[in-house]
């Protein structure tokens, strides 16, 4: 245990602190997901509209947020708004803003993809049966689109959780930062702490994401059949 630096983990409240750090990361991702999903659905529906200008604007938003590494987006919001607008955002708020903007873009593309994947004859048959536009969407299109959408949006949650690890770089005290603090504090008594602590954080992330990935995979399979 000493050689692998795992002993530090069980000293005092170290493990609980680590879990607290993970909680901060999860909180940021869950808030961002909760905001991204409704906004993304809205934008995704708007993207299937025939209005060219609207579509071009939304497309630009999507591509701009997608092509930039999320870390660059974090820097832009965290450092950029301070200089350009004089805002004094704390790290967590900046992270939620960035991940919501990014998540909304990703979600809108998933929604658009799900909507246009519904074959045209579904719309036409609904009309031929005399359903109104609202009925058509409510009873025919949405149930089919949602089936395709659910596994993909669950995947978005794990992507969000993994991406929130980046908030470390703008000074948010999350699980990796807590691990660093614990390693530093125990440098003398446990010089190998870095191995054990980072391994633990690695596994914590895995434990947080793996069940969600499994669920997404299961749902995807069951919806395909």
């Amino acid at each position: 245990m000493q050689a692998l630096g795992l002993d530090v983990l069980f000293k005092g409240k170290n493990f609980l602190r680590l879990l607290g750090g993970l909680g901060v990361a999860l909180k940021i991702s869950l808030i961002s997901v909760a905001l991204s999903i409704p906004l993304g659905i809205l934008l995704g529906i708007l993207m299937t509209r025939r209005n060219r200008v609207l579509r071009a604007i939304l497309r630009l938003y999507l591509e701009a947020l997608r092509i930039m590494p999320q870390m660059v987006l974090l820097f832009l919001v965290f450092f950029g708004t301070t200089r350009a607008l004089g805002w004094d955002l704390d790290g967590e708020t900046a992270s939620v803003i960035v991940f919501t903007l990014w998540g909304t873009a990703e979600m809108s593309d998933l929604v658009r993809g799900a909507l246009i994947s519904i074959p045209k004859h579904q719309y036409e048959s609904a009309e031929a049966l005399g359903l109104s536009k609202a009925q058509m969407h409510l009873y025919i299109i949405l149930p089919q689109a949602i089936r395709r959408l659910v596994p993909l949006s669950i995947n978005l949650i794990t992507r969000m959780i993994k991406t929130t690890s980046l908030v470390l770089m703008i000074g948010v005290v999350e699980v990796i930062k807590v691990a660093q603090q614990i390693i530093e504090a125990n440098r003398m008594v446990s010089p190998n702490g870095a191995f054990g602590m980072y391994l633990t954080v690695f596994l914590l992330y895995f434990i947080a994401c793996f069940p969600i990935s499994l669920l997404a995979g299961k749902l995807e399979k069951s919806f395909r059949e």
Binding site: G5, M71, V72, K162, L166, C209
Partner: protein, 219 residues
């Protein structure tokens, strides 16, 4: 925005971009090799190796690159495996990318119905001929969109390299902001350089996707 500052920063960003591109390309190439190997193992259902590959894929896909890099760079030296930052960056990117590539290739292989292989065999082809001439051309073209998305994803992920003190674009920007407080200029160049790197790849990717579909293979 101050032109003199931009001019002064430009060479620094150029150097950083070259480093990012070099390590990014190397990481992507190694990821492709790893991915091909893993997909082959899964397709051929080699016992034991198949299980190891599955565990690797799940571990790699469900953890962020940042902690993978931290573990390689700060954790592994404690048990005697020391790497310099560049090797660590490429190793981390390959560890992450290998599983994404493997999934892309695997989904391509799985999309080809068994009847294709059976027909090839009944025509008197060997298994290897069937794989090379019948299965792979179809499977690879199905994999193209996922493959292109992965390449862009991996190039974007190189921005995490700054965490293990590699002098990449992110590191340079953060350094300059900390030193001179010319935030606007530093961030502007950061965005410009990432666009210069990623836009061509993205455009090339969508051209390739269209070409492949035009050939009548893909979906």
């Amino acid at each position: 925005m101050n032109a003199a500052v931009l001019q002064e920063y430009l060479p620094l960003y150029g150097k950083a971009a070259l480093l990012t591109i070099r390590l990014g390309i190397l990481g992507v190439l190694l990821s492709i090799l790893t991915g091909l190997f893993c997909a082959a193992v899964q397709y051929l259902k080699i016992p034991l190796l198949k299980t190891i590959v599955r565990v690797y894929i799940e571990l790699s896909r469900n953890t962020p690159l940042l902690i993978q890099l931290f573990f390689i760079y700060y954790g592994l030296p404690k048990i005697g495996i020391r790497t310099d930052p560049a090797v660590c960056g490429v190793a981390g990117l390959t560890f992450l990318g290998g599983s994404y590539m493997a999934e892309a290739f695997r989904s391509g292989l799985e999309s080809i119905p068994p009847i294709q292989e059976e027909s090839a065999l009944s025509l008197g082809m060997t298994r290897i001929q069937a794989a090379v001439h019948v299965i792979l051309p179809q499977a690879l073209s199905v994999s193209v969109p996922a493959f292109v998305a992965n390449v862009i994803f991996l190039l974007k992920e190189t921005s995490v390299f700054s965490a293990v003190s590699l002098m990449d674009l992110m590191f340079t920007a953060k350094d300059l902001i900390g030193l001179y407080y010319d935030t606007t200029e530093a961030l502007f160049l950061l965005v410009v350089f990432y666009l210069l790197m990623l836009l061509p790849v993205s455009i090339l990717g969508s051209i390739i996707e269209k070409k492949v579909r035009y050939a009548g293979f893909g979906t």
